[in-house]
């Protein structure tokens, strides 16, 4: 058991899975000697050499396309895309192939691969370095899409993603990389993909969050408890796709009210599916419209305006109170 931040926890998962399975390899820009721009692959190059920790040329479609080929051969590549903002360069390889190979060959081939990428705001970054693109992957059949919310679940979910026979898009919130440390057990830990967590139980209101927004949800829940005497249930999605519709619906069947918070822009965003799914599963329990607290429907605003664009505690609190008052 060690206290690790998310970077170290992810690194541990990579290390242990690579030790466990010689077919697991890492490929990406600067993942080798440099250890990745966020140091998630630190030292792995030294331990496993440059054929298992592969510094690729600067070409995202090449990275994903070659990894698809490796996966078809039976290897289990873990790709790192340096920032989620650069993954549209390989979006066609993900959508055309990684997601479809099993279906196309009726099970003869599959793409057991993980595509890791840092996403989200909070690090004073330039354009394409702070966006949240989870929606684009969640809508692709054949993919799974995971976003952990802390060191321990990040480590366990990454291990599961690596072992999953299907391609998993794995988003890592940059804002969480060096945030809180958690106790992470030394022995290998996995976690079921497709299950949401009740991060905090409550009966008055459901807040649905994932990634870095779970912290925002917790703070808002604390304040609702203290200032309004309201007990908030926080659903931490963890898996975006396939979403855990049962847990979402069960929570709102209990609370009757829901607010969704995410960093992606609102329109046609992940909150829409979450809201619709809740409506489908808890229609008769709904006491108020489900609200969404999200980034605005605008392109990158510059980090000088980022705080005003991304959801924060006051904005979430206000939405919760509006829902409660309805």
């Amino acid at each position: 058991m060690a206290k690790l931040n998310m970077v170290k926890a992810l690194n541990l998962a990579l290390l242990q899975e690579m030790e466990r399975d010689p077919d697991v390899l890492i490929i990406g820009e600067d993942v080798g000697v440099d250890g990745g721009v966020f140091r998630v692959t630190e030292d792995l190059h030294r331990k496993f050499g440059s054929t298992r920790v592969v510094d690729s040329p600067l070409a995202e479609a090449g990275i994903i396309g070659a990894s698809v080929g490796m996966a078809l051969y039976g290897l289990k590549p873990i790709c790192e895309i340096q920032f989620s903002g650069f993954a549209f360069q390989c979006f066609h390889q993900i959508e055309n192939h990684a997601a479809r190979y099993r279906m196309r060959t009726q099970g003869r081939f599959g793409c057991q691969m993980v595509v890791r990428m840092p996403y989200g705001g909070g690090v004073r970054a330039l354009e394409h370095h702070s966006e949240s693109e989870e929606q684009f992957y969640a809508h692709i059949p054949g993919l799974k899409m995971v976003i952990p919310s802390g060191p321990r679940n990040a480590r366990a979910l990454l291990a599961s993603a690596i072992r999953d026979p299907d391609p998993v898009i794995f988003f890592e919130a940059k804002a969480l990389y060096h945030a809180a440390k958690e106790d992470v057990p030394d022995e290998i830990e996995t976690m079921e993909i497709g299950r949401a967590r009740i991060d905090r139980p409550g009966h008055d209101l459901t807040v649905v969050a994932y990634g870095a927004m779970v912290r925002v949800a917790r703070e808002a829940a604390d304040r609702l408890h203290e200032e309004d005497g309201v007990e908030t249930e926080i659903v931490d999605l963890l898996t975006i796709s396939p979403p855990d519709r049962e847990t979402l619906a069960a929570s709102v069947r209990k609370t009757g009210r829901a607010v969704i918070v995410h960093e992606a822009p609102k329109s046609f965003g992940p909150g829409a599916e979450i809201a619709t799914s809740i409506m489908e599963g808890a229609f008769l329990s709904l006491e108020a419209p489900i609200l969404r607290v999200t980034a605005h429907d605008v392109p990158f605003v510059g980090f000088a305006r980022e705080r005003a664009n991304l959801p924060d505690v006051p904005r979430l609190l206000a939405a919760c109170r509006e829902t409660l008052k309805f």
């Binding site: 396309g65 490796m70 060959t105 329990s285």
Partner: protein
Amino acid sequence: MPRTNIEPQFTVEHLSVLDADGNLDSAVEPPIPPDELKRLYRSMVLARRFDERMLRLQRQGRIGTFAPIKGQEAAQLGSVATLRRTDWMVPSFRETASMLWRGWPMEKMLLFFAGYLEGGQPTADQHDLPVCIPVSTQLPHAVGLAYAAQYRGDDAVVMVYCGDGATSEGDFHEAMNFAGVWHVPVVFVIQNNQWAISIPLKKQTNSRTIAQKALAYGFPGIQVDGNDVLAVYAASQEAVSRARQGNGPTLVECVTYRLGVHTTSDDPTKYRSAEEVASWERKDPLTRFSAYLQKRGLLEPGLEEQVDREIAAAVRSFEATAGADPLTMFDHAYAERLPALEAQRTAMQARFEHAAGERPAGAAPDPPSHESAATGGDDAAPASPPMRGQRRPWRS
């Protein structure tokens, strides 16, 4: 020397073995045993006749759109024939001849073009990827396969196909560059058939040859007469053994011509002249190769009839295939059926059963592929608990 040429200069070779009449330049004749020559020719004839048959099936509406290969038999078979069974073959969408050589059954290929995913399923021991439709996207897969072979210590070689138009895509570049840097055992066979649908080569790229594009990646490129099966064979063999010996990738440009339509939806008279087509018909790879075999006394009588019988049998077995069961669409989206898909499947099944149940007794149910059934609503919504609010039921 402030203004200097960088040495060595870059060169690209052109290779041909047979002239248009099937005469041979014996200095470069590849040493192919007579049986292999006969097998090659047989495969060319089979591919040609099967292609023609598919065209008729398409015109009759019995299969959908496909991309005919007429004129490109030598480029495909001369190259694929240099592979071992354990090597990998990665086609684009116009490699019927290569696929037949590799053992794809004709029924399966017909099924594929009739819209059945079953037709794209390689057998468990087959080292072939299926048809790949987005142009050039298969090229990085080939590089990844080659990397994996090297990683595992297997001595397999990967051969991957694309067209002249495909060389314009970013994926072509990224794949070639990765192959160069990783020095993996892959052979890029470019069938330069002069056209990408209606776009002629000179609108596709300003480079004189496709072969010289390899210079950008630091590995050899060679141009061959792609209608000369022996030249294609010789160049491919060289490339395959280079790859097998650990000496990295090669680009083989086969200069050839698509004699027919781009696909069955295409009308080539809109963009090219009958004279141009006729000039290439005179270089038909089958004619040239058969003239050569004739001279060597290796032509088998009755070959056309033989392959036609094979094709006819395949078409019969294709047509005897049962209708597609829609319920299987949920089986291979993921390795396991996800709960949401299970629910969608159950809803579909209920629709079929409902539809069957609604029919007058004695009437045969439609095959599932022609279902027009209706059943209650959609799927996946977890059941709601009993009503809490008060609501007006519809039309109460």
